[in-house]
Symmetry: C2
Subunit: 194 residues, 2 copies
Amino acid sequence: LNGYSDTREALLRAGVAALTEKGFGATGIEEILREASVPKGSFYHYFGSKEAFGAELIERYAAFFASKLNRFLRNPSRKPLQRIKDFVEDADSGMARYDYRRGCLVGNLGQEMSALPESYRQQLCDVFADWQYRIAECLRLAQVDGTLSASADPDHLAEFFWIGWEGAVLRAKLARSGSPLYIFAGGFFRLLET
Amino acid sequence: LNGYSDTREALLRAGVAALTEKGFGATGIEEILREASVPKGSFYHYFGSKEAFGAELIERYAAFFASKLNRFLRNPSRKPLQRIKDFVEDADSGMARYDYRRGCLVGNLGQEMSALPESYRQQLCDVFADWQYRIAECLRLAQVDGTLSASADPDHLAEFFWIGWEGAVLRAKLARSGSPLYIFAGGFFRLLET
């Protein structure tokens, strides 16, 4: 085992879990170290600063989430709009698995942005732009197969989706239920029919 | 001047501002005391605990917001759906006034719920239920005046509104722009036409 990279990995995992659950402000470096069983004081051996650590956590979560979105939104065995529904159901299962305590790292940090290093703002906006692009791509496929009207605006609808979706994740955490996810998604899909 | 209640009031004001901007986890009691020019250590003279203080801040914000909603949603000089649009525009002006740094106290705390006193959960859910009731009431008036279809479900639509709206406020803070508020509201109003 490579001790250095294993420890670094354990810190990143603990960091993603904490930021997904509580956000940046409520997470202390000490609890990350404790969670990863890394001795106090060795954090700066692995990361230059809490700011650099957070930036890497955003990047890591974005990569994890992009591969999740690929899995659903590019699934050739499902029709395009069904792929988005599959994503919604998976999001509910994923949240249920942690008793709706964990939400979206990017949403949490967006919410806290006023208290975060200013450098995170563009990074978080870029992640949303990437997710928006992926949903828009799927909606364009739905236009090709005729399940979405040719007059619909995929980019605008995809932007709407992520704006509301983060609210739905927030409310699912609060209500400890997937119901807000389905209520939001239901409205979104009705909008696609207009 | 009544020193006790003036100081208490100053602490509540500083608390609402901090929780609207950064949330509970990132806010320290010391900065609230500093902001309100109250000597360190006297906090427990005014509030039993940080938990009790937070509960009072939620209550206070809810009362402030309910009176704002009344002002817009019960405005007899506007048609019911226009009242909701007026609320959206006022929300944008309100956020712009603080350079989109401050969002919604209830949304911030909902986001952080996993790290908050469990007693806040019901309190926050009740606030959303109250807001939902007020929007539903306005949508029912729109059904009476014929601008909303009689077959629409005002309660469901109002629930959808607040689920997505909190996402829009979050994104407005991140983007430092009112654009997400209008994109979400635009989709909501299109949904009302279906």
